[in-house]
Symmetry: C2
Subunit: 405 residues, 2 copies
């Protein structure tokens, strides 16, 4: 697998664009379109919040349609808690995209992210749609789509990889946005992945959904699961590999690359959590089963107290142990070792269930880095799990104390 500067536009069968349709303050792009002229198969994972935004309800109905040709995304407004009118607006968006691209409205998926409970500014959006459907034909900035889906993100999130399957080049490119309301089980995150791999719809589903559980569902910024979380993959099937129609070696190769793409996007979201100054990675290792290892890892990176301690570069391992303790998993800490690790080195702070004396200055040096790992070694099994989060900072409070007004 090669990590390359591959954007959506570089994957055969796809075009993309982001434009400024005046949907947000500032002059950044805020309306995005991904276009698969010859159609694509799709797979999607959606929020588990019972309050689902209108576009989520719409997409859940359409994700398994035989052909998807367009994904439209607006930022600035989530179209959530907007009732019948909100749903009609989503349909109107799909119909207008279909009209201007000369495709069927059932081939369109619609996504919104931003403020909850306000109706979409449909005049601006419809003007934007006309413009975006025209401009996509000639647009050349392949990074504008990633910028257009941002809300409080501080930078766009993109990744691309190239793999060889059946002797043929296969590309995968993805974009994502965070950055508040990020919590396991689809937080306020949008992720869009495109690939040209030749694969059946059934195998695309089989490859995509488990990788979400190990990537986007293992991050947390603040424990809040949003109304709009969505991750969608499209495949144009234009690569020349023999079609993947079973769980063979080619399938595994594709799935592995896809997991890498999703994980990197997920980590970018965690690191760019609202107000975050650092990426936290919790590794629970040598545990007796994977399910509980995941719960333990998530509990660490969801703990406000732990997150605030890491903001202060405070080697407060007690909060890490405590967070695992209240996770709901029944374990004995008898064999538990705990390490903190970063580019500055690794330090053991807890051994066989007990604190040990460690060099506080060294610990501080390690924790001051931008990426910090918390390793909990249970020494009681062979399963492991990883979760990602960020520190809790003054800026998180600032951003969220005045988001709406």
């Amino acid at each position: 697998m090669k990590i390359k500067d591959i954007a959506i536009n570089d994957v055969e069968g796809f075009k993309s664009i982001g434009i400024d349709a005046k949907l947000r303050k500032g002059d950044r792009e805020n309306l995005a379109l991904i276009y698969a002229k010859d159609g694509a198969i799709a797979s999607g994972v959606f929020t588990q919040n019972v309050i689902k935004a209108a576009p989520v309800v719409y997409n859940m109905k359409n994700i398994d349609n035989e052909s998807i040709k367009a994904i439209v995304i607006n930022s600035g407004n989530a179209n959530a808690c907007t009732g019948e009118i909100g749903y009609q607006n989503t349909e109107t968006i799909a119909q207008n995209i279909a009209k201007y691209l000369n495709i069927d409205s059932e081939e369109v998926l619609v996504n919104s992210t931003g403020v909850i409970g306000v109706q979409l500014p449909m005049d601006k959006i419809l003007n934007g749609i006309e413009k975006i459907c025209t401009e996509i034909q000639t647009h050349t900035d392949k990074h504008s789509v990633a910028r257009a889906i941002m809300t409080t993100d501080t930078h766009p999130k993109e990744i691309g990889v190239e793999i060889e399957i059946d002797g043929e080049i296969v590309k995968i490119a993805g974009i994502a946005k965070g950055s508040g309301m990020i919590h396991p089980n689809m937080a306020t995150m949008l992720g869009f992945i495109v690939t040209d791999v030749n694969i059946t719809k059934e195998m695309l589903d089989k490859a995509f959904k488990p990788t979400i559980d190990k990537s986007f569902n293992m991050i947390s910024v603040d424990g809040d699961t949003s109304t709009n979380d969505t991750c969608i993959i499209l495949s144009s099937k234009k690569a020349k590999n023999k079609i993947i129609d079973k769980e063979d070696e080619d399938f595994n190769k594709f799935k592995e690359a896809l997991e890498y793409v999703n994980t990197e996007l997920a980590k970018m979201i965690a690191a760019d959590g609202e107000g975050a100054t650092k990426l936290l990675e919790a590794n629970v290792i040598n545990y007796k089963n994977e399910k509980e290892a995941k719960i333990l890892a998530k509990s660490i990176i969801t703990s406000n107290l732990t997150k605030a301690a890491f903001f202060g570069a405070d080697a407060n391992w007690g909060r890490v142990v405590c967070a695992m303790g209240y996770s709901g998993v029944q374990f004995t800490p008898k064999h538990l070792d705990l390490y903190f690790k970063s580019e500055k080195g690794e330090i053991k702070v807890f051994e066989n269930g007990l604190p040990i004396v460690f060099d506080e200055d060294k610990a501080k040096e390690i924790l001051l880095e931008k990426e910090v790992k918390i390793i909990a070694d249970f020494k009681t099994g062979e399963y492991s799990a990883t979760a990602w989060g960020c520190d809790l900072t003054y800026d998180y409070v600032k951003i969220n104390g005045s988001y709406r007004t």
Copy 2:
């Protein structure tokens, strides 16, 4: 029921004291003793964290002993994650209290709160124990005990009530401490209630435990459940009422007063959450069952996004709706109305599942108060639940970014 300036010392059969045993920085009291010379029956509720501090394990073993005569509490150190030595230290504390008070060590309950993972400074504690057991005989400051159990609390938490049962005066007095790691199911909170009601041990348990579920278990500061949470009630049985030995009218009267005491203490803890500027109360009303109403209410006051919005006095009802949406409870928002309320009035912001236009200035005025209610009226049943929390502020981050060092 009369709310009175009744402290532990005013309840027949009890004495209390707090002294400075140099267990914390500053010159506030940090070692506390509650003493029931003629013995008391006890009931207790303890943390559900699998990592239980040594004194919690010790108390769980001793809470049902026939007679309890002393509760000792130190602040500054939680004696959690301290292994065998930590447990032995707890036993040593109990033995020394027993020695100096000339009672049995099994009549002593031990509590610790503060930093995790550091062994207790036993020399200071044992000196303090000798002193406190002597001074309690003549000590007159009835509020020192409430001050001594504080950690990051900004003020002591005390309440007392007087009721009439069977024509006789019965008193209940309680103290508590917060204020980080506060989350439903016994967070880092300690609560000690004493009463002189004449009651059987069985009925004391029956009265006490359900009131915890409606009070201390319905508050959250930060979603972190600590290793040390404890709430204990002692009854000296010295009041002259006919003994309560069944769930009759007298029982209900006592239970109601006890629930009031616990709820007021719980609210004090929530309002004094680390860094908090205001008390948030979530009322879920007219719901179809109590269990889910509780989950919904808790989810609101646990949401970081909601908490940060209220810090900014932002009428962001979307986050309230969203927090209920991801609570795990399956509901339809079709009939849901939402109100914000404080001493400045009440405002409806959401009606029958949809946002409504409201006066933003009025909403701001309401939300700027020190106590704000969030009322979610489901209009689909007759059950309700209340939970309490606080806003998420810069100071929470500050306190917890540098607690240990």
